[in-house]
Symmetry: C2
Subunit: 226 residues, 2 copies
Amino acid sequence: MQLINNGKTKDVYKLSNGNLLLEFKDDVTGKDGVFDPGANEVGLKMEGAGQAGLKLSKFFFETFKRRGLPTHYISADTEKRTMEVLEAKPFGEGLECICRYKAIGSFYRRFGKYVKEGQDLDGFVEITIKDDSAGDPPISKSALLMLGILTEDEYNMIIKLTKEISDIVKEILATRGLSLYDIKLEFGKDKNGDIMLIDEISGGNMRVYKGEESVTPLELPGLLLD
Amino acid sequence: MQLINNGKTKDVYKLSNGNLLLEFKDDVTGKDGVFDPGANEVGLKMEGAGQAGLKLSKFFFETFKRRGLPTHYISADTEKRTMEVLEAKPFGEGLECICRYKAIGSFYRRFGKYVKEGQDLDGFVEITIKDDSAGDPPISKSALLMLGILTEDEYNMIIKLTKEISDIVKEILATRGLSLYDIKLEFGKDKNGDIMLIDEISGGNMRVYKGEESVTPLELPGLLLD
């Protein structure tokens, strides 16, 4: 089993069957000790974060699979903190798709002239490029097409899937009295070029609130799965 | 004549006939004494910049008018450094439309992972919102529509006009051996809601090169008009 990437929150191994094994770590992104799914740095270590992230990913990916949505998920071992997935080719050097239900974070910092902080958004989707040194900048459809990162069909499919998947997460959270403020998804292509949801779906890539209180990635599995 | 806005590079007066009078100042945007059309601050004072900006604006607006393009321009007095224009309603609290022929400036800072610095771009148009405190962030078509800043028709018209007008400026500069790297335009609506080009068209809102050398706003009229 060969380590092919030592990531911020996961290590990635290549399996002999051609699939990948993701090993979840106890690191979460943030800054100055405060959790922030939009941050680039590993800001803090949370004992149990890896297992919490994997439990949620397993739950969500199995839900999406049942609903016929394309994902890279094959199986998960929550004790070993590993998830087996299909190998995926990223778009360009990697994109992140953010679905927003509240005007907060970088959206509010950019467009605060036109929205109130915390104002409802109807699942507004934005795409950013993965580039730590440039601060993961947002990128428009026209720039994605012009730079050859996505075709128009790929763009439309990714926007549609982001909205569909995020809406499912939002509904599931709502059944437990939890509010989804925003969520970050990643997509890749399988060996046939078909688009699928990749990475993880956990408290680490979404902002969740219970009433006025922010729910941490560690608290989420208990509130959602028990 | 009532002063209605004390701007970074122009003062704006309301005339008794309902039109506006723009008085061009000798200030240009930049930072630390270096001219930068993308900057928010008035970085330096250049003796003669106001008259240079007005001479070019007069020349370009009269060219656009002859070609049937909609502008706010009525007349200009280069001695008095004033330009009479139609009153315009901005989109939202103001947008800037950038047409890019070279990957430089903020485009390169954001998308340097996908382009070489200085690489040719085919008149790629981006829109930013005017908001100094947020650093004039780029805004996508979907955000412009969602926030109610533009309708889809207005968006399409503004992109089309930006490309058309910028291409004309680029061609005119080329006849004098000058290269247009990027240019920033502004649009507004007249009293009937029709879209027109507003603000100024001068060395202050474009990056121009002669070979490897950057052309300053003060040098441009001499190179272009004499």
